[in-house]
Symmetry: C2
């Protein structure tokens, strides 16, 4: 193909973690056993009541177009559910249904960010933040998380030092992928004060808000002055094991939600009609399978942490949310004489079948970073296979 494509594509990033999936698949195709800790996907099926509600809706003819911002009963159910959990008042006009949580990232940036504006975002963090900031002509302003021994805190100096008049928005991902960090009430208050002081828009990525093993979820939107500047990324993906069915929503001020709807008209018309009835059932129907998902994840988490801690040189804390561990493997890395995190990952896969992502799949290391981290996801692997994989890992890493 000799015809050239548009220049903007050069600024488009991707999820480099897909290369890990491809590498693991290639290794498996050679006849090897793979222990998949690299996937952010789930091997658990969507709850049956959600599937059946979707099926009934298709049979009832909910197969035609629906409003670009979603059907009113789902917008109402989301407004009620999300508002109650966060102790704020939302109505249906604050909700724009989307085909997944991810579309909220690009649409948020399209709506609030002009080319040249700065946007703060976590690094390590979900790689699409940076990709879309760049793609849409913004200035990426990555901020770090600092290990505390039993978790991570936001690098406040790092945030403050990057704020100038051109910074327009901050992306905050409490219950954080990949590191599993949970912000304290005090940290969230600090962030809210900062957003108000500098008049920033906030994208609160709450994909893991309900993947919480104890306590009550905290959202920055609950704090005074935040309702009018915060857009919540909501998704059914994790709570209801619906990653591949694609159902989510943007929740925020009406003016922004209006624009979300208009972008929907332009880009995808509307979200799958019948599936939205599945969404209503997910929110209002029986929660026993959703609870079962959490029980399964918790057992996997505890098993994986216990096994990892038997390995000399692995430091790992028990995250209260997400389905990721982010162990510090610096001493193993040094003992192995690894030349790079990619070398470390690749050699471990080939020696043990254990497949995982590294810190570098979630952004380029920032100045001053000297520890080596990897990410273990436990959403796509059984307890039995966790034990089997970790036995092999121990033999190689110890």
């Amino acid at each position: 193909m000799s015809k050239s494509k548009a220049d903007r594509l050069q600024k488009l990033g991707t999820e480099t973690a897909f290369a890990v999936s491809a590498d693991a698949a290639a290794f498996a195709a050679e006849g090897n056993v793979v222990y998949p800790f690299h996937l952010g996907d789930m091997d658990l099926r969507t709850p049956l009541n959600v599937i059946e509600a979707t099926h009934r809706a298709m049979l009832d003819g909910k197969t035609g177009y629906n409003p670009s911002a979603g059907i009113m009963p789902l917008r109402e159910a989301l407004a009620e559910n999300i508002g109650q959990d966060r102790n704020v008042q939302y109505g249906p006009l604050n909700v724009a249904v989307q085909p997944g949580g991810k579309p909220v990232i690009s649409k948020f940036l399209e709506i609030v960010m002009n080319p040249g504006d700065g946007v703060l975002y976590p690094n390590p963090g979900f790689p699409i933040y940076e990709s879309q900031i760049n793609y849409l002509g913004g200035k990426p302003r990555p901020y770090a998380y600092i290990p505390t021994g039993d978790g991570f805190d936001i690098d406040r100096d790092g945030v403050e030092s990057q704020i100038d008049a051109g910074v327009r928005a901050i992306i905050f991902n409490n219950y954080q992928n990949p590191i599993g960090a949970e912000s304290s009430a005090e940290e969230i208050q600090w962030l809210a004060d900062l957003a108000i002081r500098h008049d920033l828009w906030v994208l609160s990525d709450e994909a893991y808000f309900k993947i919480l093993y104890s306590g009550q979820g905290r959202s920055i939107v609950s704090l005074p002055g935040m309702l009018e500047r915060t857009i919540i990324l909501y998704t059914f993906s994790k709570t209801y094991a619906m990653t591949g069915l694609r159902l989510g929503a943007a929740v925020g001020p009406e003016s922004v939600i209006d624009s979300m709807g208009k972008l929907n008209v332009n880009v995808e018309s509307c979200t799958n009609h019948a599936l939205q009835y599945g969404g209503i059932e997910a929110l209002r129907g029986d929660q026993s399978e959703a609870r079962e998902i959490m029980n399964t994840l918790q057992l996997r988490r505890d098993t994986l942490v216990e096994e990892l801690r038997t390995i000399d040189g692995v430091e790992v804390f028990v995250p209260n949310s997400t389905f990721y561990l982010f162990p510090d493997v610096t001493r193993v890395y040094e003992r192995m004489g690894a030349t790079s995190l990619e070398d470390f990952r690749s050699r471990t896969l080939r020696e043990t079948g254990v497949s995982f992502c590294t810190r570098e799949h979630f952004g380029s290391p920032l100045p001053g970073e000297d520890r080596k981290f990897v990410r273990f996801a436990f959403s796509g692997i059984s307890v039995e296979n966790i034990k089997e994989g970790l036995a092999r890992l121990k033999a190689f890493w110890n």
Copy 2:
């Protein structure tokens, strides 16, 4: 909300036809009967075998992520089906599954058009073409269709006169919404020659390729030299009455399809996993319900044409494709003393309950246009209601 939004939103258009839906709904809410000829939607349910295949896939756990460009079996089925119907050779790497046909429009422009590039597109035509050309910083170059008495021809002089070095692409919508035009083999050849001569990318919007009442569908991609410069917009929406389930695809050169997949990773991750198994069933399974849909549409078309032709001053041809009629109502308009097409539409709705869109919902009238056209869709109304509505219309318009 005092916080300002991004400037780019000022260039974002919409489908103004939604205002007609809202007006009709408001009129119905006052207790009036509405005869909905304004909808491009279908009141026919998705074929049962497609629904059941989707349901089975959900039960089988096809609820997790799938590749951003779609599952391989669907890409293979689409490559085979689309290639055979057009007598060209496609493989799965030429296909990127999308959540509907519409996403192909914006992604095509993102991939081939730089800001400042000109793009030719039909006017009247699907309004999202113009909206997205503007939104993404291109220069809109609308071209007209000229009435011939029994159809419409592309205004070739209008196309030629707008081509300069800055024109990069042309959007071609054979089997055209809203006018129902079908290009002759000679017209398609002329367009292909033009695209090659000026080295243009071509978006061939083939949403209605299978909504054809007689003969065999013709695609510009079949002509020599076109395979490497044409991207087909394919959708399941019309053929399988799946408008609201959102399943479609971009089909074209691998280099463009690669970029489509990368945009998918950034914007929506992937298309609904289980639904893609429904798509395979649609393509390879029993076609009896799809045939039934065409029979139903044909009966509606014939009824509506017959009734409209009994009205003095309505000129309408029988389209061989789409589910739209585009009657010339100039003499009725003049007899009524209408002050604008909007006045004509609104007064007709209020006097008769008959609701339709006008030419102006598909782009601003071009210089020299003097006839008045409206669009009647017959995809969302039964034969019985067509007759009832037309009886009222006749009484008012005659």
